[in-house]
């Protein structure tokens, strides 16, 4: 029961309190780039969630059974990048074969995830936090869902903002960055929610 409690807490904590985008400021590029429409933002979020969960599992295995076993922590960056890149490639091939519809929906975003710092950040945070396998997977899932939440919220705001009366000099990226800042402040309110 104690383990289940930790898992649930890790999940809530990564989604809300330590949200990857709004609190840790990882993965800002897709957050600003792909948040023009709710629909595409959601697709991007789903793709990232999928890759994040898989990455968490794969990197935990590699870290525990190879890097820690041979005492090679300095190889984390290199090996994680390789693993993430191959994983995304594999996922892309798999989806292309099994579900052309999903492949089309994700489109260019899937390969873009390879270079997303949120994924590498996630992989590097796992050994740092000392999670076990299940917690790591939940951590990855939570990070992905937190990412989706933030990007979909942002897309919703930007869709509404299209009709807003934005001053000429703030149109486009500037107002988006201001929005991101306000959202990040709002998410700070979650910081007292739980403590682990």
């Amino acid at each position: 029961m104690e383990e289940l409690r930790v898992v649930i807490l890790v999940f809530i904590s990564t989604v809300l309190i330590n949200n990857f985008i709004l609190v840790k400021f990882l993965g800002i590029c897709p957050f600003l780039g792909v948040s023009k429409q709710v629909e595409t933002a959601f697709s991007m979020g789903m793709a990232t969630t999928f890759v994040m969960t898989l990455t968490a599992a794969a990197t935990w295995l590699i870290n525990t059974y190879i890097l820690e076993y041979f005492n090679l922590p300095f190889l984390r960056y290199v090996s994680f990048i390789i693993v993430i890149a191959s994983l995304v490639q594999f996922v892309e091939m798999f989806i292309k074969k099994s579900s052309p519809v999903l492949y089309k929906a994700l489109g260019i975003y899937l390969p873009l995830i390879t270079t997303n710092c949120a994924i590498l950040g996630l992989a590097l945070l796992i050994p740092l936090n000392g999670y076990n396998f299940i917690t790591s997977v939940v951590f990855g899932l939570g990070a992905g869902i937190g990412f989706t939440l933030a990007i979909v919220l942002m897309a919703g705001l930007r869709e509404t903002l299209e009709f807003g009366d934005v001053p000429e000099s703030l149109k486009g990226v500037p107002i988006t960055l201001i929005l991101a800042g306000i959202m990040a402040m709002a998410f700070m309110g979650f910081s007292g929610l739980i403590s682990i």
Binding site: L67, N71, L75, S79, I82, K96, K97, I108
Partner: protein, 329 residues
């Protein structure tokens, strides 16, 4: 110490090898048959992935072209050159993209219109326009502060001494930035091959126009009556040309009493069909006023009373010397 090197190399090599093997196998197992033409089309595209075509990148555009969702001339960067290459791959006839150029629908510069007020302030059309519609007597006229010149990314627009923008046809790409920048909405994009332009945007009645501008449309509708193909219509005291219908005959500009209508081509004096005519009937079909008559495979004749000297028959005729055109001086 040495063991670190060995373990590092072995473990990284191992991870790399396993992943490479896995990917290699997966590539074979999950191989999806794709139309080879997609790759060929992708090769001839510029490869800038700029997204100007409306697709996510060059590869998505290539896919859409093969599927038939996108036009072969859909790549604005590659232009007609790329369209030709794609057409070759697909084996279809390529339709050249109709190029548009910016045209100013006002010819009332400082000389032609009267100045009714002085303006001291921010020197942009937008600012001037917000104060009582400018300094000129015509409220539809070009304000002359050069917002279009400022907006043009290709240096194609230059303000003349007469206070009107001069659009360089060679440099204009038809991007439409000046159209958006003009607060008077008097710049339009018109097909490059059209030679007639009605350079006035005033909806004032003729009486008013003739008092305030020397070259404004006074709404006499002579052009409407003259036009053999009904391409000109009167809209609220202003003659407006439908470029889709216009046949470049230039008759309207000849008739226009105020010189509002510009014609950039050569006026035709007379058209005659010679004995060389093989009777293919192409000219008869092309004639907008049915002035050409004749049976198949026999020499055709032009009814000079009906002929409006537009020259369309000359353009479609495939036989050299079958139609002779004399131009006016």
């Amino acid at each position: 110490m040495d063991s670190i090197y060995i373990y590092s190399i072995l473990s990284m090599g191992g991870i790399g090898a396993i992943l490479a093997l896995g990917l290699g196998l997966a590539a074979k197992k999950f191989h999806v048959e794709v139309d080879e033409r997609i790759k060929e089309v992708e090769k001839v595209l510029p490869g800038a992935n700029c997204g100007a075509c409306g697709y996510a990148g060059c590869s998505s555009f290539a896919e859409a072209v093969i599927k038939g969702d996108a036009e072969i001339n859909g790549c604005p960067v590659g232009g007609n050159e790329v369209a030709e290459k794609i057409a070759e791959i697909l084996g279809v006839q390529e339709e050249t993209n109709e190029t548009v150029k910016a045209q100013l629908l006002c010819s009332g510069g400082i000389k032609e219109t009267k100045k009714i007020s002085e303006y001291h302030g921010i020197e942009t059309c937008k600012a001037v326009n917000s104060i009582n519609g400018g300094t000129k007597s015509c409220q539809y006229a070009c304000l002359g502060y050069g917002d279009c010149e400022e907006a043009c990314p290709f240096d194609a627009i230059e303000m003349s001494d007469n206070g009107l923008p001069i659009i360089d046809k060679e440099k204009c790409t038809g991007c439409g930035k000046c159209v958006k920048a003009c607060p008077q909405n008097i710049i339009i994009l018109a097909p490059e091959d059209k030679l007639n332009h009605i350079r006035c945007s005033s909806h004032e009645p003729g009486k008013v126009v003739s008092k305030i501008c020397e070259v404004g449309c006074i709404g006499c509708s002579l052009c409407v009556k003259t036009c053999p193909v009904d391409a000109i219509k009167m809209e609220d005291n202003l003659a407006v040309i439908d470029y889709d219908k216009c046949i470049n005959c230039g008759l309207c500009s000849e008739k226009c009493p105020t010189g509002t209508i510009e014609f950039n081509g050569r006026l035709i004096e007379k058209v005659v069909i010679t004995d060389q005519c093989v009777g293919c009937t192409r000219c008869a079909k092309a004639c907008p006023v049915n002035a050409i008559e004749g049976e198949l495979k026999k020499v055709h004749e032009i009814d000079q009373n009906k002929c409006v000297q537009c020259g369309l028959c000359y353009d479609v005729c495939k036989v050299d010397g079958a139609i002779e055109v004399t131009y006016k001086e």
